[in-house]
């Protein structure tokens, strides 16, 4: 937490995106989370991804529930739309917003409490419905705002700061997301922007439900030696499945890739995702393989990161329920009013 305002001065040579903006233009208020909180790095990665995609601020809505994680939308994109909803109810609000205006980017930021405990039901159903959004969980395995109780994602072998045992099994949100039909599922680490930023960039572009489980250490309550969600534990047990590069539409591929190590996926808007695989046993396009890779690593204590599962068949809720292609707020009287012949038709059904 800091008392000074973040200085407005910025580096004169900061890169600019297609809109002529720098990443500083995507910032929000200075964070009031604990110094060193992983969530701030996640916010910073979001800023970077939105900057990379040249998203105009008014074309994005940020949504959250309750918790340290859910405070973070204040700290980025301060010119975008935002809704800080009830605890665990961000998915309902996101669904309503998305149905009303399908033209925006929807970015939900939640935490392990907001998603895996009070909001678990909502989480399951928003996945099933494949709402077109990026759902990010800042996962630190603890209830930071209420002083460090275990959350539902805390690993069973991970003790509390005071040394108490955790009695219950943890919920693997990434596995749950794959099972329930999410199209883009990844896991990453707040302290590794090289991996996290491209994942976010791709996930924002993906049409359908994208989920990123970000291990984001709580420096105050869950960064101790017996924790499996500390900076140190993560760095010692990280098992990266691969790296992702996102090449925007019409841009030339400049990086030289070794043959046979990459796969390329084109997404609906013409951009390309290039996946450099590190694990040859992993097939990100196969649901059951993705799940078994997750399970296999969970049992040896390592943390799998990178793009875990991708459904190349991009599909979202609007496709499923066949809604109008325009956002509701731009529909005119002509489209909304069925006219007298339409009315006659409807009335006939009651006669």
């Amino acid at each position: 937490m800091s008392y000074i305002k973040k200085p407005s001065a910025k580096h004169p040579r900061l890169p600019k995106n297609r809109l002529g903006l720098t990443r500083r233009d995507y910032e929000g208020a200075l964070s009031t989370l604990c110094a060193g909180c992983g969530h701030d790095s996640v916010s910073s990665a979001i800023i970077e991804a939105c900057f990379n995609l040249s998203i105009p601020a008014h074309k994005l809505a940020k949504l959250s529930g309750i918790g340290c994680s859910s405070k973070t939308p204040t700290y980025f994109l301060n010119k975008s739309h935002g809704f800080n909803s009830v605890h665990g109810r961000m998915p309902s609000v996101a669904t309503g917003a998305n149905l009303a205006n399908r033209d925006l980017f929807y970015l939900g930021v939640s935490g392990d409490g907001d998603t895996a405990s009070i909001g678990l039901g909502q989480f399951c159903h928003i996945i099933r419905r494949r709402l077109n959004m990026l759902y990010v969980v800042d996962n630190n395995g603890t209830y930071g705002l209420t002083k460090g109780q275990f959350s539902a994602t805390n690993d069973k072998e991970s003790k509390s700061k005071k040394g108490e045992d955790n009695l219950f099994e943890s919920i693997d949100l990434a596995a749950l997301a794959i099972q329930l039909g999410a199209g883009f599922v990844a896991r990453s680490f707040s302290g590794d922007k090289e991996q996290l930023v491209p994942l976010m960039t791709a996930a924002l572009k993906y049409k359908g439900f994208s989920f990123i489980d970000v291990i984001s250490p709580c420096v105050t309550f869950n960064n101790h030696i017996q924790s499996t969600k500390s900076y140190q534990y993560f760095r010692e047990h990280n098992e990266a499945l691969g790296f992702l590069d996102v090449i925007p539409d019409k841009e030339e591929i400049k990086i030289q890739y070794d043959e046979g190590t990459t796969t390329e996926v084109e997404i609906h808007d013409g951009s390309k995702m290039i996946l450099r695989k590190l694990d040859n046993n992993h097939n990100p396009y196969d649901k059951s393989n993705a799940l078994s890779v997750l399970n296999g690593h969970q049992s040896d204590g390592s943390v799998v990161t990178g793009l875990i599962y991708l459904d190349k068949n991009e599909m979202d809720l609007h496709d499923t329920i066949n809604t109008n292609h325009k956002p509701l707020n731009i529909l005119s009287e002509k489209e909304l009013c069925p006219g007298s012949s339409g009315l006659d038709f409807v009335n006939k059904n009651f006669s």
């Binding site: 800091s2 000074i4 973040k6 200085p7 580096h11 004169p12 110094a35 060193g36 790095s41």
Partner: protein, 595 residues
């Protein structure tokens, strides 16, 4: 080869980060005195300046201010902190400082030091040596002390009372001054048997221009610095209606502004070069232009026109400048010569040293351009007991450079008189201590102030032009001083990084407003600089490299644009970053063997 971790125990590393102090020849602790001014502690600010640069009141008005172009604020947003004018605030609003000036010991050490000239450099040498017990005597050609500060700088820029106060501070410490004492033979002078002799006679000879008509018109052609001296001593009080000033340096600006005040109606400055190449400080040019004095660039003087045995005008050739390989050539445009009418001409085209009075067989070696051979570090000539400084050493510079020379010369004279090796010089005073006062509290104001540089209020133009003694700049009042002082970025509060505390959480990287901080793989310097979030292209500024961290990366901070706002330290969960106040005061003779 990867870069080695930065050695922050070398005081020069953090000294260089304090750009203003690094650029100041006398290394005045600028941010420290600016904070004192902001706190209203004008006397303390004055004394800190006095310790370092000896003439805060004079320099607060007349310094060439190498600190200002160096100010980090120029790179951050264009306009430097008005460092020079803040110095003047300290001098203007201080209390009586006479009790704070060190007194020489009751008993002297018996060593006699002669100072030739009583200008800034000699006075500063005396200031350094008197408290150590040396008997110092200055020999001055003029009837008053101050040297060029009195003769070359007009009163409307530096009032006599300000100069007198600071000269008298030193004279009252026990400096004897022999006025009206011009040394015509150094051989004879050396017979007076001083333990050491310091030569601070300046560069007193104005350059002349030998073009047709020079001799015939000599009555109305004046050497700039001689003209200014004559005005200062009130030997000259008027000038012709039409005046041509030749030259593009600060002396030319002083000459034209003086001419206007002595009754010149059509005063114009004619410069050989394009305006951008003029040697005068930008602010001096601005002041002249504010007084509606035109400056004509690309005019090369060709001839003085004589009519009836009297100067009546000048001919100029128009040129354009061409630059190749960093060299400038002035190419005539071929247009007809320009004729300009005039009654008087002031020539301010440069100054030379003059050592006719110094016999060549005394053991003092002379080198290029008949200049004495002087050791750059010790200021010693080839005759061991003779030292040089100020403009007399290597030609015209400025007052602050003279002061820097004086400190070094005084150290050398002290070592010399004690029979010590002149190359074993005292170390600077350095402190580095945490400025942390609490959770989010530092012992300095770390917020970034967005206000723009304040311009200094001026006296009414009409009044100024009537009275050559009326100071043009009025200086800041205390509120303006506070506002301007708050623009200082406190570059002396250093970001100190301790790698064994760092958990590489990226909090500092994310919060840094200038994108200075990076965690990257080490490499050789140019590659490392290129690999940063924003590549570190300003090679004048160092990059701060840590030792290897657990992820095998290193922390690299580009010092270039750091605002010293302390956000990295505030957002660091482990205290790996700390804001530490760095104090640096160059060594003086009091830190040497007699101190």
């Amino acid at each position: 080869m990867s870069m080695k971790p930065t050695d922050i125990s070398d005081p020069e590393y953090f000294h260089k980060v304090v750009d203003c102090q690094w650029a100041c020849p006398a290394h005045t602790p600028v941010p420290e005195y600016i904070r004192l001014i902001a706190a209203g502690k004008y006397t303390d600010a004055y004394m800190l300046n006095w310790e370092s640069n000896v003439f805060p009141g004079v320099l607060g008005r007349t310094c060439d201010r190498p600190c200002e172009p160096a100010c980090r604020r120029v790179r951050v947003e264009d306009e430097p902190v008005a460092i020079c004018r803040l110095k003047r605030v300290a001098a203007d609003y201080k209390d009586d400082v006479s009790k704070l000036i060190p007194k020489p010991p009751k008993k002297t050490n018996g060593k006699k030091i002669a100072l030739l000239g009583a200008g800034p450099v000699s006075l500063a040498v005396a200031r350094d040596l008197l408290p150590l017990g040396y008997e110092c005597t200055a020999y001055e050609r003029d009837p008053v002390p101050g040297g060029l500060m009195r003769t070359n700088i007009p009163s409307f820029r530096l009032p006599a009372e300000v100069l007198d106060e600071e000269c008298n501070q030193i004279i009252n410490m026990g400096l004897k001054v022999e006025y009206n004492h011009e040394v015509n033979s150094f051989k004879e002078f050396l017979k007076l048997d001083h333990d050491a002799v310091f030569i601070g006679t300046g560069a007193p000879k104005g350059k002349d221009l030998n073009i047709p008509g020079r001799q015939e018109a000599s009555k109305n052609i004046h050497i700039g610095i001689d003209f200014l001296a004559s005005v200062a001593f009130e030997h000259v009080s008027k000038i012709g209606k039409k005046v041509i000033v030749l030259g593009g340096g600060n002396t030319a600006m002083d000459c034209c502004r003086t001419a206007v005040r002595l009754g010149g109606k059509e005063v114009g400055v004619y410069v050989r070069s394009p305006k951008v190449d003029m040697k005068a400080s930008d602010w001096e040019v601005e002041e002249a232009e504010m007084e509606n004095i035109p400056i004509y660039e690309n005019h090369v003087p060709k001839e003085f026109i004589i009519k009836d045995g009297k100067l009546c005008g000048m001919l100029f050739e128009k040129v354009t400048a061409e630059y190749s390989n960093g060299k400038r050539k002035l190419i005539p445009t071929g247009e007809p010569l320009v004729e300009v009418e005039c009654d008087d001409v002031l020539m301010a085209i440069g100054q030379d040293n003059a050592f006719e009075w110094m016999e060549k067989d005394l053991g003092i070696e002379f080198g290029e351009w008949d200049m004495p051979v002087v050791d750059k570090k010790t200021m010693q000539s080839t005759l061991p007991k003779v030292f040089f400084g100020g403009d007399a050493a290597w030609g015209p510079e400025n007052i602050i450079t003279a002061v820097a020379h004086a400190h070094q010369a005084a150290i050398s004279i002290d070592l010399f008189c004690n029979g010590k090796d002149l190359n074993e010089r005292p170390e600077p005073h350095v402190f580095l201590e945490s400025s942390k006062m609490g959770l989010h509290e530092w012992s300095y104001d770390n917020g970034y102030d967005e206000v723009e540089r304040l311009s200094v209020p001026h006296a009414d133009l009409k009044e100024s032009l009537k009275n050559r003694k009326l100071e043009v700049e009025l200086g800041y009042d205390d509120e303006m001083a506070f506002q301007e002082a708050s623009r200082c970025l406190n570059c002396d509060v250093q970001t100190v990084f301790e790698e064994n505390r760092c958990i590489e959480c990226d909090a500092c990287v994310d919060v840094c407003p200038e994108d200075c901080i990076n965690f990257v793989q080490n490499d050789e310097e140019d590659k490392l600089r290129a690999s940063l979030r924003v590549p570190a292209l300003n090679l004048e500024e160092d990059i701060y490299v840590s030792d290897v961290l657990p992820t095998s990366r290193v922390m690299v901070k580009d010092e270039d644009l750091c605002l010293h706002c302390g956000l990295c330290a505030e957002r660091c969960p482990t205290g790996a970053w700390d804001m530490q106040k760095f104090f640096y005061m160059g060594a003086q003779s009091k830190d040497g063997c007699s101190g």
